[in-house]
């Protein structure tokens, strides 16, 4: 696992792989049998990275941004990768404070409103980053006799505390 982590770190930062490469793949570089699994993927990714770096003459940033279609952007977005929002831990930022109510924006469509916890609440001001456990991204309900749902234009989450807080609090 440590060898895999070092190799992954090498790929990410474009460092030399040779020193970190595990011995079995270095021995198989001269061998004939086709690689499979991780070794094949590793070779393909390093090849792609070399190609990208070699063709860095033109406006690389704009071409990589334009090549991404909406479908691929959506698929790779954290909101979609997260899956159902129930009981997911996220980090949000407090955008507004009204007395005891904290309005926290965590990257979804709506903010969530949490009550300031009794202990350690003075640290939570505008701009503080807090941890949340999401319950729902949008509070909606269909009432009797209505054509469409009624929405509260809010998300619901439990406030767990500031990001670097030492004591986790579970308050609504």
């Amino acid at each position: 696992m440590a060898a895999v982590m070092r190799v992954v770190a090498g790929i990410r930062f474009g460092a030399r792989f040779s020193s970190c490469r595990p011995t079995r793949s270095s021995s198989s570089s001269a061998a004939d049998p086709p690689r499979s699994g991780f070794a094949a993927a590793f070779d393909q990714q390093s090849e792609l990275r070399r190609e990208v770096q070699s063709s860095a003459a033109g406006p690389r940033v704009s071409s990589s941004v334009q090549d991404q279609s909406f479908a691929s952007l959506l698929r790779r977005s954290p909101l979609v990768q997260m899956g159902p929002a129930r009981d997911k831990l996220v980090v949000g930022r407090i955008v507004h404070v009204v007395g005891d109510d904290l309005y926290v924006d965590f990257g979804g469509k709506f903010h969530c409103v949490c009550r300031r916890p009794a202990a350690g609440g003075e640290k939570l001001q505008r701009g503080t980053r807090v941890r949340l456990r999401l319950q729902d991204l949008e509070l909606t309900a269909r009432f009797l006799g209505a054509d469409t749902d009624t929405t509260l234009l809010e998300a619901q989450a439990l406030l767990l505390g500031p990001v670097d807080g030492r004591e986790p609090q579970s308050r609504d």
Binding site: Q68, K109, T151
Partner: protein
Amino acid sequence: MAARALTRGLLGLRHSRTVTLTYSGGHHYATATSVKSPQPQVDEYTDKILNQPLQKPDFFRVSELFSLKDLFDARVHLGHKKGCRHRLMEPYLYGCRLDHDIIDLDQTVEHLQLALNFTAHVAYRGGVILFVSRRRQFSHLVECTAKDCGEYAHTRYWQGGLLTNANIQYGSGVRLPDLIVFLSTLNNVFQQHVGIRDAAKMNIPTVGVVDSNCNPSLVTYPIPGNDDTPVTMELYCRLFKMTISRAKDKRRQMEILHGLSAPSTPSSCHE
């Protein structure tokens, strides 16, 4: 109606028929086609300054102001839940993920480009643009945007006869807006804003951001997109401000370039 037609009469009546394609408010000048242009200078003026932007599809290059990635980062694609969906918004939706509607940003890019292009043309010709939004959360932002680009905003309670009864409520000869931009087409109680229906009655074109629970049918240039997140609203306000400023600067530039001064119309002296 006649007062409005007269004020716009000198500003391009001759080619009003040719602009009906791009300027959907042009058809209401049909009553004043009998008014003839007085001097040949006006023709030269209209040809150089007013006709030239119509030759190209994107004269003001508004498509360079934003990209799909910018819209995505500003969370424009997030819609409401499936239960809140309006039936007429279904063509604009990409799909529904875990009960949350996702708006198709490819369509949004096209619609936004059309809307910004139209706004730029209206601002270029010195039209009065009114920003309307009944979201109290963003009312200050909308008012500041309008002030910064020299246009108007109405983010308070909409009186019933604001447009339809303007001559009686505000005196005769009042000039109505030439374009109304709705940054949110809903009232707080999930009714559609009265201004959309009134603008359609008064033949005023509208640009509106329609979320997945809005009715896009009466809006002339709908922009399917999120209208609930502060980041998104800031993006829209920034785009409209840049478009209008760019169009007005272009107008000043064209006037200086061709060395012509505008005829005595209130076209470019509204504040």
